[in-house]
């Protein structure tokens, strides 16, 4: 098959940039742990409120530098009393749903987690600035979807 000379240059240049780009993304993802939220743990969606850690949602301190926030999402709200966490510490969010798919999204951060019934979504995040952050659901979940929100306080 005949390729025009400029076309060869164009394709070689394009493919080379592609390789560089994907390597950067891959290395940053896997060696620096910059991966999006996820996780492979499962849960019975009908027994969420009886299953640890969701039987006791809210903030708990794991060690000096790590906190865990456990949240149960449902139409149309989040069950997690008094979300208050410190800035500068690693916060591990664990979320699941008792009904349909939702999201747990904290405005102005990179916390943007899909919440799927039967699965537990995990994300680790460290807040830099204190303040009151808006939490909202950005996956359609029913009539009240646009009302589904909450707040987390970072001190």
């Amino acid at each position: 098959m005949h390729l025009h000379k400029y076309e060869k240059i164009w394709l070689v240049f394009g493919i080379a940039s592609l390789i560089v780009f994907l390597s950067v993304v891959g290395v940053s993802a896997f060696s620096h742990d910059h991966t999006p939220s996820g996780g492979m743990d499962t849960i019975d969606p009908e027994k969420v409120n009886e299953t640890a850690p969701f039987d006791n949602p809210g903030v708990s301190q794991l060690d000096d530098d790590t906190y865990q926030v456990t949240i149960v999402a449902m139409a149309f709200g989040y069950n997690a009393p008094e979300m208050k966490v410190p800035a500068g510490k690693e916060i591990i969010f664990k979320v699941t749903s008792t009904d349909v798919v939702h999201s747990f999204t904290i405005d102005n951060t990179k916390v943007n987690m899909m919440v799927v019934p039967g699965q537990i979504t995990t994300k680790s995040y460290t807040f830099e600035k204190p303040g009151k952050y808006l939490i909202l659901c950005n996956e359609y979940c029913g009539t009240g979807h646009h009302m589904m929100s909450s707040e987390i306080e970072v001190y």
């Binding site: 005949h2 991966t35 939220s37 499962t42 009908e46 405005d107 987690m113 799927v116 039967g118």
Partner: protein, 550 residues
Amino acid sequence: MIAVKDRKIALANIGVAYAAFLIGTLAGLLQVFIRNDALQLPAWLDYYQILTAHGVLLALIFTTFFIFAFFTTGMSKSIGTFGPKVRLYSWVGFWVTLFGTVMATVMIVSGKASVLYTFYAPLKASGWFYVGLALFIIGTWISSFALIGHYMAWRRKNKGHLSPLFAFMTITTIVMWLIACLGVVATVLFQYIPWAFGWTDTINVELSRSLFWYFGHPLVYFWLLPAYMAWYLIVPKLLGVKVFSDSLARLSFVLFILFSIPVGFHHQLTEPGISNFWKFLQVVLTFMVIVPSLMTAFTMFANFEISGRKKGAVGLFGWFRMLPWKDVRFTSIFIAMAFFIPGGAGGIINASFQLNEVVHNTLWIVGHFHITVGTPVAMTFMGLTFWLIPYLTGRQFTKSMQRLGFVQIITWTIGMLLMSTSQHILGLLGAPRRTAYAGYNNHPSALEWFDGILTSHVTMAVGGSILFLSAMILMYIVIMTMFLSPKAERPEDFVEFPLAESDKEHTPKFLENWAIWVGIAFALIFIAYAIPIGDMIQNAPPGSKGFITW
């Protein structure tokens, strides 16, 4: 001019496409006003019902029927009049697709299926909604097999020859569509329908999502490839040149089959149940489509330059002024291509693994698909409509229609620039998609989003209104050229099908060896999906019952 009986099939398809376009764009107009609290809906109508209708009617119905109209016309033109069987099955396909469409639409309008066009479980619509969807897909399969039959008959008669480029590209698109639909058919037939009618109690949610997106991404290429066909085959004719390279065009199309399917996880990057390894593998495969995309971009610029030089252009960019700007069939598609540059760049951002979480499910995404499917694809279809309908009806495309055509594409351009820019920025600021008016109790962060000039509620509403106006102008052109414009009588009044010549003398034969391409496609699908899907089935949590939360 193609046979009258074939023209009827094409016209029926275009008619349904534009009926869907009319209702769909009206829904779009309502959405922009509801979103900024300027419009209160009556109690029997809900924002999400309207949004479901908008997504289904424009993204699924308008595109699919238009595509089959284009395919029917082009196949009849390039490889000959349909035989009785092909014609029969094209009609059966049309009616089944339409029946499914009507069934799903009735369910949406009656409020029994406000599940949006992605219908994610465990939101549970009426079982008839899923039956409608299944019939829609099966109908498109029947029409697809009719066209494949027509193509095979041609190949039997022309042993050892490559098919004309239009036929080749049509079949490539159809092959991709058939493979892609396997996912949605599997989930709808074996998961949703038994569950929605109560034959099974629960549904495996993560599996249903993955099967949906196995279909959802190639769906995007099902819209895009027919637009590319116009770019590869119609545009050169309007420019007065031949197809730049027949073999390159074929190669890029088969690469699209390979790399558009095993990539659905890039829509599921922020969700649980799929390990990072498989997400990343599919991200890498996603980026492979850059190769055929670069080939396409090169071809387009080559066409422009060759045509400009033929007309005497000098200098590095002299060809630009020589393009046939006064021809609305060309200018419309040129604008469509221009929109695809930022559209494609946005796609790269969306698919970039960890960057995805910045934009996932924000208004950025809505901005993104309005400058990919909503303009590059839709405006290419508009550019085709300007000659396709008069070609099929034998009416004239009058001077005043030409002028109106320009008004239409320019208003669409302006409206879309306003609306999509504001959606992109709002999304970056964090505003979510798929939401009715949401002040979040006047939370300061939510108020901040709408502070800028470009992100104010006004910009999106003005953009949306201009778009709707443009859509109505297009509807006027469609109705005129369909039923009312004067019939062409003198030969020069007839509208032509502008199909460029393609020189296939040097094209290698293996490019039309389907066993190779379908084989590689399935191998890639197997590599990308077998293990993670197996895992979802084997290690599934207890399933979910259905919920009706609207």
